[in-house]
């Protein structure tokens, strides 16, 4: 026990004296969580705040035009400007070309009349009247001009809004036309029962609603930081091997297992501190910066359980790298690149369901994916039993790494 105490003292002292290493272990993750959460919050906010400038040229000046204008104004996504009376379709196109507006909507003259007439003729024909529907003059189409930088999400959302507005009017016109033609009195939309669509976010415990950016970023970047300890860990081990202090320890009454146990305990402490700091920042600093607070709803203990298993996997992996790398550079480069790759395919940067199928399938080989899924089980799904398979996988991965490292050392040494 005394030997372990002094090995711990040595490892903690070495870590404490390495100020750059401490910054790397503790400050970098905090900055990463803050920046990534802020960026993602900004991206999400852009769909709910008036961030996209949109101009409408309404030559219809009737119900269709008015409805489209009011529907788009009601959506928080767009900052709507009505083009003045002197505007033409050319000036509308120019304003989008020059970037004055991201989107231009042109509603041609006679759109309302054409829509109404078209519906009336169609209904009359359905009721047996002899009407030539091809004779109805159809005005030019409603046109939407888009800045090339508008991404597909915004395009899809805009088209949904436009179709929603159009369908509302079509329904209203249809009721009006049927009322006019049939001898049954007026039809009211409110007299017809419709089926509602309800959005339900599935969780074991109904305390939580849908996930916010903090719910993903705090655990995700905690895991990234946990796995990035492998650089400090493997570099430290290789340095001890190169300067001979490791060999000296091995000639003393100090087993390799005891040496490793000290490293495991020190870096486990580092990982727990990393999570504690990130969690405190998420809980108390984020709200002050306008970001959603990180909430654990009494599940904090289980968060720490996930951190412990993830840390064991990271320490095992770092040990494995240090066993086979011969220089610090090898360990740092391989360690950093492999962690970035594991995090990318593991769903740290973007959720795995957004990835191509082959990458989505590959995500199961990433220890960071096991970690983030376990965190989702705790923080979002509130499914405590659900963390068992992921924690078991992390533990097995860790044990395999430890066994390989110890066996590789045992082949050469006494």
């Amino acid at each position: 026990m005394r030997r372990l105490t002094f090995l711990l003292y040595k490892d903690l002292l070495l870590l404490w004296r390495d100020k750059a290493g401490l910054m790397f272990l503790f400050v970098m993750p905090l900055v990463l969580v803050l920046v990534m959460t802020g960026i993602q919050k900004g991206a999400i906010d852009s769909t709910t705040t008036k961030s996209i400038s949109l101009t409408i040229l309404d030559d219809d000046k009737a119900e269709v035009g008015r409805t489209i204008v009011s529907e788009l104004q009601a959506k928080n996504m767009f900052d709507v400007t009505i083009a003045d009376s002197t505007a033409t379709i050319e000036t509308l196109q120019t304003s989008v070309n020059k970037g004055t507006h991201m989107i231009g909507v042109y509603i041609p003259s006679g759109t309302t009349e054409a829509m109404y007439n078209g519906l009336q003729d169609g209904i009359a024909k359905a009721l047996g009247a002899d009407i030539d529907t091809t004779a109805t003059e159809i005005p030019s189409t409603i046109k939407i001009y888009l800045d090339p930088t508008i991404n597909s999400t915004f395009r899809t959302t805009l088209m949904c809004y436009m179709r929603e507005a159009y369908n509302k009017m079509e329904k209203r016109f249809m009721f009006a036309a049927i009322s006019q033609m049939m001898p049954i009195g007026s039809l009211n939309e409110s007299d017809f029962q419709t089926i509602d669509i309800e959005e339900v976010t599935q969780t074991t415990n109904s305390l939580r609603g849908k996930a916010n950016v903090t719910d993903h970023n705090v655990p995700a970047w905690t895991l990234f930081a946990i796995f990035f300890i492998i650089i400090s860990l493997s570099s430290g081990i290789i340095m001890e091997r190169q300067d001979g202090s490791f060999a000296r320890l091995m000639t003393m009454p100090c087993s390799y297992t005891l040496y490793l146990l000290s490293k495991v305990l020190v870096y486990l402490l580092v990982c727990l501190l990393q999570f504690s700091l990130i969690m405190m920042m998420g809980k108390w600093l984020f709200p002050a910066l306008g970001l959603p607070a990180f909430q654990t709803h009494g599940m904090l203990f289980y968060c720490f359980v996930v951190v412990v298993f993830s840390a064991l996997a990271a320490i095992g992996y770092g040990l494995l790298i240090s066993t086979f790398a011969t220089t610090n550079q090898q360990a740092s480069i391989f360690g950093a690149i492999s962690v970035v790759l594991f995090s990318a395919i593991g769903g740290i940067w973007v959720p795995t369901f957004l990835m191509p199928k082959f990458l989505n399938l590959m995500s199961v080989i990433s220890p960071l994916n096991w970690g983030i899924e376990a965190f989702y089980d705790v923080v979002l799904r509130r499914d405590i039993a659900g963390i068992i398979p992921e924690c078991a996988t992390l533990l097995i991965f860790s044990v395999i790494c430890f066994v390989i490292a110890i066996m590789a050392k045992g082949r050469k040494h006494c």
Binding site: R2, R3, T5, F6, D243, G244, S245, A247, C254
Partner: protein, 252 residues
Amino acid sequence: MSSNIIHIENLKKSYSDLNRFVLSGLDLDIDKGEIYGFLGPNGAGKTTTVNIISGLLKADSGKVEIFGKDYIKERDYIKLHIGLVPQNIALYPELTAYENLIIFGSIYGINSLVLKQRISDLLELFSLTEFRNKKVVHFSGGMKRIINLMIGILHKPELLILDEPTVGIDVQSKMTIIETLKSLNNEGVTMLYTSHNMEEAQNLCTKVGFIDGGKLVLEGTPDDIIKNNPECGNLENVYIKITGKSLRNIED
């Protein structure tokens, strides 16, 4: 009962990347109280032998007994009773001299009070007391070598293994180290000493062995070896006569 502290028989060791035997049937006996100079050119097998005795390497075959005990089976006992002063400055440069000494000393399981007293005595002996709380990274080469030696002798080992302990240091530090080694030997400590410095070996060692090609090629007291090679005049010339003048650059 044999007075051998180290007994080695037909020791063989090869490295896969060298494709040859570094030790090709080494026989070696070191008696209690000896300062045994283990001398040889680069690649002769000195460091490999030291590493096997220290427990850092496994031999391919052969018998190695230290204090009459098998070097693998009774490693725990052997570790407690040997001290190693490696060729590298095997210290933590970011820790102070005192921190290095207390950490390594505690690994030997020395009682805390005894260890603190021993550290103070050794720092005093080597006139390093005022530097005890300075980081080793700021020490001169000689001071680092002395701390390196101090760690090897903190626990008062029965067998001290010294792998070129005076390489690359000034004359004053070298003299201090040599005097300390003689004093320790007078207290009964057996030493296995490797060096390329023949003059130092001649002055310090009670017995020397020349190793070349992984085998012991000559052994005896420095005086006897010189006496048997009167044309050489000193140990260095005998060494050259035995091992030749060609360059040896392979690390063993």
